[in-house]
Point group: C2
Chain length 334, copies 2
Amino acid sequence: MASITVQTSPSLALIKYWGKETQGINIPATGSLAVGLHDLRTKTTVTANPAASCDRVSVGGTEQPLHHFSTVIDALRERARASGRSDADTPLSIESGNSFPTAAGIASSSSGFAALTIALDAWWALDLPVAELSRIARTGSGSAARSVFGGFTRFRAGSESAEPVYDAEWWPELRVLVAITDTGPKTVGSRDGMERTRTSSPYYDAWVADARVLIEKAEHALADRSIERLGPLMRESYLRMVGSSIAASPPVLYWLPASVAVIRACDDLRGEGFVAWETMDAGPQVKILTTARDAETVKERIASVAGVQTILVSSVGGSPVVTRKDRDNGDSEA
Amino acid sequence: MASITVQTSPSLALIKYWGKETQGINIPATGSLAVGLHDLRTKTTVTANPAASCDRVSVGGTEQPLHHFSTVIDALRERARASGRSDADTPLSIESGNSFPTAAGIASSSSGFAALTIALDAWWALDLPVAELSRIARTGSGSAARSVFGGFTRFRAGSESAEPVYDAEWWPELRVLVAITDTGPKTVGSRDGMERTRTSSPYYDAWVADARVLIEKAEHALADRSIERLGPLMRESYLRMVGSSIAASPPVLYWLPASVAVIRACDDLRGEGFVAWETMDAGPQVKILTTARDAETVKERIASVAGVQTILVSSVGGSPVVTRKDRDNGDSEA
């Protein structure tokens, strides 16, 4: 094999994962329900780099500290060795890039670690079950456990891997807008934000307990494709996540003025009968769940909000695509 | 007596009252620690209006529904009757106004109900103990229980009245800036916001439990006049109040984009060594605790924040002032 290229999409949680179990790596304390953002792609290419003394990983052309990726690379290399692959210890060159602005603050770690996991599985022809890929991707980033699937996914509290719920065709009318705000001052990363919330927020236990109720209701709403029920549950989920974080000591606040402006604009849009249910993660960007019917109107209105720089629009889906390039023939997709 | 005029100041909670006991009227579920805003004044004048068929209350020249004031007026009139005042049932004209913009969203109900209570006590020469005035003012608005005192006050959880802690001279260097933002869409009043939080926020119990810890620490910080300790506790208090509210169903969110801009500007100012500890209540305005030394710099910087319309500056204090005007001689202050 000359190269393996894998494309994946970021996983957007409609019901939020926030907080880890103290045992294990990235075991979620709260269950999440998510969609893949089909039109936002991470592309990761693996090639052999036998002359190098160790693996090289670059993202968007910038070389990365290798230890960020070691749980995933080590786990898969270990299996390559166990299965007798003679190239298991050949150093690799791993180049990754995103189709969306890298400064977007979108969870590119979900698609990034998923792509890495799938690419190495293909590179060493391990053919691991996708649940196992999810488990391995999780050790790089919790949400990556969901990105190895496309469509609608669930990641249960306390689980080692995520699971598919429906494919993209379940609800093809859905659209997700990502409103990219001005970048703010450097804030706390999601890993540290979660940890500070867990250890110092008086609301953490209630957040975890309540999340169990929310996700169950949201699963029913998704089963019924009811945006009228799913939307308010999405809002409650992210606002309770925010509520638990700003209650930490010191407080963790990801919002910028433009974040609030977008939240209020969504409220106005809903008041006018449009579908516009916002959610947020560990950053100032706002993601909006809408429909094919309303996407253009919502996009126009949100684009006019002060502090919004760019809006990305995506349908739901985002199943991984693997492309193998052999030395002697062209591409093949699987 | 021809008229009684009482001036009071709004009470700003540094540690927040948010949530009521289910028994009684406005019995706070969380203790609060507050300062009077000396340079913001509510002035309320009581005169006899014997030709009228009932009392008349106006605020800023606009006549108000009488039932808003009935708990306070009825309680004091009852005592006037009990003490044999022949004018107990004479209808009154009660005119109130604020020295600060009425649309400011500052807790003018605290100073308003305190002024009303003190004015009627003086009008009927009841000479009730101030703790009793606090108890009566509370039935109009919880925070009014604090405004009948000046300086630093405390209102314990579960109490019927507030109590003075220190007078203004305890910490005269303190200043409070009130950053008045654009007025936003009409949101939920504090009474409804508290109630929705109590009945639907999964964080309410934790909020109430945690508030006990916070106020105790804050009392020590105030006793030591330590802004380095009081400031972070203030932030934790209001952000936990906000966290409990946005977790309600449906969420209660008072912030505007400018609110977040001011919060971030305070963060920047603190990073540069200035004293600027913000707090918020049931509205988009941001109040900032600073010192005489830093007030001018903080004011300039906050004035340049997009969406900030006006900034009011106040020292701490705000003891009530009663002015009696007799029919045949001039004013006398007591």
